[in-house]
């Protein structure tokens, strides 16, 4: 316990990195999810096929493999491209950027499925009513699709987010100093790896419990006026 107090600075710092990583990658994944859902539901066959390929690959390949590929391969690719075109000199992809980008893209694939299902759950008649009222496509999205899509997507979204926040732990493998990495280093130097890994475990538990609370609040907010048919 004293050891944890001694190293609490590192642990807190690592926790902060983990939180940032999770939140930034969440932004990315929501963006890619919306884009993917839009592509999957569009009439354009190229967009459809691209989105289908995207979700199959990112949901079929383990996230750590993609993180490593982006971190090592992406850097080489960027430099080879730079050399070829002469547009930029040596670039370095930071661990943080590789982590945020990869986790964002991977969970964007899961979000795609969630959002797609949510949009499909909106009764078609409502959208037609919007068209009949002369609403523009953007207005239909903002007033009719979005509020209901959020409601329908929330359960899946919550699930994705809880998996995503745990996935951020993998970025420690490429050396990002997140809570796992810092906890591991501290545990190794004090020879108290169990104590420190247990502390890290508890930190994640707190993070997921807090997210759970937040998601429940969101669920309450967005399901106002909804009558739950099941035992509620």
């Amino acid at each position: 316990m004293e050891a944890i107090i001694e190293y609490q600075g590192q642990l807190l710092q690592g926790t902060w990195v983990t939180i940032q990583l999770a939140l930034f990658s969440l932004l990315f994944s929501v963006f890619f999810g919306l884009l993917g859902a839009w592509a999957k539901l569009s009439k354009n066959i190229v967009a459809q096929k691209t989105a289908a390929g995207y979700t199959t690959i990112v949901r079929g390949v383990p996230d750590l493999v993609l993180i490593l590929l982006v971190f090592f391969g992406g850097q080489q690719l960027a430099n080879q491209l730079g050399q070829l075109t002469g547009l930029w000199d040596y670039v370095e992809i930071s661990q943080f950027a590789a982590g945020v980008g990869t986790i964002g893209v991977v969970f964007g694939g899961y979000m795609t499925e969630t959002f797609r299902g949510a949009i499909l759950a909106i009764p078609r008649g409502q959208i037609e009513a919007g068209i009949a009222c002369g609403m523009s496509r953007f207005l239909i999205f903002r007033r009719i699709i979005w509020p209901q899509m959020v409601r329908y997507a929330l359960p899946g979204f919550s699930n994705n987010w809880l998996v995503q926040i745990k996935s951020t732990a993998l970025v420690s493998v490429i050396g990002l100093q997140d809570v796992v990495y810092n906890g591991f280093v501290a545990g190794r130097s004090t020879r108290l790896l169990f104590t420190f890994m247990f502390a890290v475990l508890m930190i994640y538990l707190v993070l997921t419990a807090l997210s759970d609370l937040g998601l429940r609040w969101l669920d309450k907010k967005y399901s106002k006026g909804m009558v739950r048919s099941e035992d509620g």
């Binding site: 390949v61 383990p62 490593l68 499925e113 969630t114 951020t168 790896l193 169990f194 104590t195 994640y204």
Partner: protein, 259 residues
């Protein structure tokens, strides 16, 4: 002709295909390790999950609370940290280091990975099965009661068979999730599929080849698994598919892949 192809690949392919082909047997061995770890973990985890799910679905608070704490902890934390805790952490205790389990099991990366994976998948499967058990239709249970079934008979003959069916689509996600999770093994020195990829890249100082080969192989395994589950569902869940005269076979299974 063959030489021409090899020369073409050596000079023009962006990936060193020849090197991948030369080391392909290693990748297959790695895939075997991955499948072995995943399969065994699923077996052990599944065996643990059935009694735990029955406890979780029951009303005994003294049994329920510890099982809930177990599933909550394992579902709320990353598999990577759980694996580190077991592999690196247990050695902190002298009692563990001196026990007879230390040498053959607890100091071995493979066993530690198996233990962590099994507990992890047990936690997820428990909650999944619990959900399926509590949604058993009341009428079936009442019918069993009326027939004078004991609690154990009800569970074995009525509740579990239908609960397994209901849990199947979600379980296919769990299986793929576990396969994905098994990459954690490569971080504790195990030469699984990703481990081989990392080894190849490290040895020949490459950036893509090992990871891309591993990624493709993982993708193939996942596609085979989800196909397998679709087939399984088409057998176990046939009664749930829409019936009509023209089309008896469903085009798409209920498998939603994951979540």
């Amino acid at each position: 002709m063959g030489e021409a192809i090899i020369q073409f690949l050596e000079t023009w392919s962006p990936l060193d295909v020849v090197l991948i082909a030369q080391n392909f047997d290693r990748f297959l061995l790695g895939a075997l390790v991955t499948l072995q770890l995943t399969g065994l973990a699923l077996l052990i985890g599944g065996a643990l999950a059935v009694p735990l799910a029955i406890i979780r679905a029951g009303k005994n608070p003294y049994l329920n609370a510890p099982v809930w704490a177990f599933t909550y902890t394992f579902r709320g934390t990353p598999l990577l940290v759980q694996t580190y805790l077991i592999y690196y952490g247990l050695g902190q205790f002298e009692a563990v280091r001196e026990s007879f389990l230390w040498g053959p099991i607890l100091s071995q990366a493979w066993w530690c990975a198996l233990i962590a994976f099994s507990l992890n998948t047990a936690a997820y499967t428990t909650e999944l099965l619990r959900g399926a058990i509590v949604t058993t239709s009341r009428g079936e249970v009442e019918a069993a009661l009326a027939c004078g079934f004991s609690a154990a008979q009800r569970m074995r003959r009525i509740v579990l068979p239908s609960a397994f069916r209901r849990a199947l689509p979600a379980y296919s996600n769990e299986v793929i999730f576990m396969l994905h999770g098994s990459v954690v093994a490569s971080t504790i020195t195990i030469q699984d599929l990703l481990g081989v990829g990392r080894w190849l890249n490290g040895r020949y100082y490459l950036a893509y080849e090992g990871f891309i080969t591993a990624a493709v192989l993982y993708l193939i395994i996942v596609l085979i698994i989800s196909r397998g589950f679709r087939w399984w569902e088409s057998r176990w869940l046939r009664h749930l598919y829409p019936q009509n005269a023209v089309e008896t076979k469903p085009k798409k299974g209920l498998a939603s892949f994951r979540f």
